[in-house]
Symmetry: C2
Subunit: 359 residues, 2 copies
């Protein structure tokens, strides 16, 4: 997909990482909407898969991944706010990642790319904001991995952000989610075409990445949604043959097959691992102390049917805000579409977000 | 594992299947405990992985997969009941399945083995019971796939069974469970060593089957159990390297790696598919009409944290019993160990089962 409004910015020096390693002059791809007015910037952080293209910039532009939420008159009202969205460090939509050339060799980094953390990603986005002359954010907002990133940003730069909105994100990643991502990474690595990450000359490990995406898709939705949507409907083929398919199987396969066309398998591994390493309390004396760094007013949103971030994790995070002396506003939405509801139900997410941003 | 108490019985003719195909003289491996007395037989049906070896037969014997539940003085009290447990048709623990020789070729069937249904499995076990001179069961009982099998047995042979106990089983398989098994089958098939099922001369597709088992293991437990058990504990290796492992990852890998030592990859595919095809209402006018065939007194047990069979499916099945005019006794246990709780908490499952069997 052409992304004509994508801009890129290169950090003019070496960038130090949590791991102790560094990356030379990393590039960040980003897009902006609206006009900066000094106090009206919103940083929108992304989930695992999306690019910086959150919304169209004009009628001729392609729709973005949060089209219903970002634009004139929408909850992230671009007539009022200056919205910035970046492709994360480690990604594959224009920012430096494992598919980028390693300056040492001229070849793609592949697995020589260093492990990056969510904190690394946000430190780099903070540098970009400084480059854009944004000294203080009206808000940082994100969903899924973007919610973790927003939390980390508010903890890393407490003086630089007034409002924090974290959707379908926990304060630290729990083992069930680690398990679910572990098997996704294993699926990529099981594909012989992965070749230890050195596949760039021969093409993607499409089968393994597709299977990983199928597994991921299961974790983004819910049992009750699929019961109501697919039930036991049969798609095609003989009931008594492995080639026969239930509709749910056909749906999963479609989700899996299209994914390698737009996503790099190694970026998938790196961002997956970065989410496993997510822990607001790491190096800070635990979750409550990590949350205590945050000075922003905070809005937390969870969904009752989320398999990946069950509501007990949202409650745990909300309790950490209470314990840290900065109670967050908490919305647990009873919606049946699971983790990805923020992409599907702008009707449910839009009003509390718009109200919180305007408050 | 040597199973010295395993017996086998061969149906002395061709066995017709739901698919319209047939299998020549299928063998059933089975074990029995206790003494038959005409009216005291219990058929214990198995889940996906277990053999017929549910419990030890004497102090020198290896423990079985339901050791705490089957034996003298235990809930399935073998001083009182004559317990029969079979390895299912399609399995790999002594019964005919895809790893058995195809009489046409002398080579393993592999994917030439016909798709079998849970009904096929229970029709064959019914033949075995006739061979054992068991005309009527005091009870049929099973968990997980075994629960589906028990339900099907009671619907197929309503006059032959007095009591039915179905644990962690639904009346029909819902799309979320199909999705979870679909990705497990895909993992097996992604392994190049699977070779379209013709791997018997070179050895199992161990990597693919291990990954399938890892995915399965996730579905057998629960988020809250693992949060309490593993949390974010780190196992070994560098935090900033893909070889580093959380404890949950090490646990999953261990579960995965040992599985191909005792389970055939093609059997896994066939039984996985058979569960997807599970629908008490198939060919009977829907779920309620399927349940209406059942004349047994029924006990249904579910677990609040079961990901694979969420309680709404247990409720749906219980409601079908009510609608069919034969209300079942329903226990929904609030246990945090998920789908596999029947293997872990004999304290919770034993008393209601013992009471129901003795009533």
């Amino acid at each position: 997909m052409a992304e004509p409004y994508r801009r890129t910015w290169m950090l003019p020096q070496s960038f130090a990482l949590d791991s102790g390693r560094s990356i030379e002059r990393p590039v960040t791809a980003f897009e902006t909407w609206g006009e900066p007015r000094g106090d009206n910037a919103i940083l929108l952080t992304t989930g695992l898969s999306p690019s910086a293209h959150a919304a169209r910039h004009g009628p001729e532009d392609d729709p973005g991944w949060w089209e219903d939420m970002v634009g004139p008159g929408k909850p992230l009202d671009t007539e009022r706010w200056f919205v910035v969205c970046c492709n994360v460090l480690g990604g594959c939509h224009g920012s430096t990642g494992p598919s980028s050339p390693d300056p040492k060799t001229g070849q793609p980094y592949a697995l020589d790319f260093p492990i990056v953390t969510l904190r690394d990603m946000m430190r780099l986005q903070h540098e970009l904001l400084a480059h854009l002359k944004v000294e203080r954010l009206h808000a940082v907002i994100g969903s899924s991995m973007g919610g973790m990133l927003a939390l980390e940003y508010a903890a890393l730069f407490p003086e630089a952000v007034d409002r924090l909105i974290a959707i379908s994100a926990s304060g630290m990643t729990h083992p069930f989610a680690i398990a679910l991502r572990h098997v996704q990474r294993r699926a990529v690595m099981l594909d012989p075409a992965w070749r230890g990450g050195r596949y760039y000359e021969i093409g993607q490990p499409a089968a393994g990445l597709s299977l990983a995406r199928e597994i991921g898709t299961i974790t983004y939705r819910s049992d009750i949604e699929w019961t109501n949507r697919f039930g036991r409907a049969w798609q095609s083929g003989d009931l008594f043959d492995f080639s026969g398919r239930f509709e749910i199987e056909s749906y999963l396969q479609h989700q899996g097959e299209k994914y390698p066309q737009s996503y790099d398998a190694n970026s998938y591994l790196y961002l997956s691992r970065a989410m496993d390493l997510h822990d607001l309390g790491r190096g800070r004396g635990g979750l409550i102390e990590g949350v205590r760094r945050i000075r922003s007013r905070a809005l937390l949103i969870g969904v009752t049917t989320d398999v990946l971030i069950p509501t007990f994790e949202i409650d745990e995070l909300a309790e950490a805000f209470v314990q840290s002396g900065n109670p967050a506003e908490l919305h647990v939405l009873d919606i049946e579409t699971g983790h990805d509801s923020f992409l599907i139900h702008p009707d449910a997410f839009g009003p509390p977000i718009a109200e919180f941003l305007g408050s």
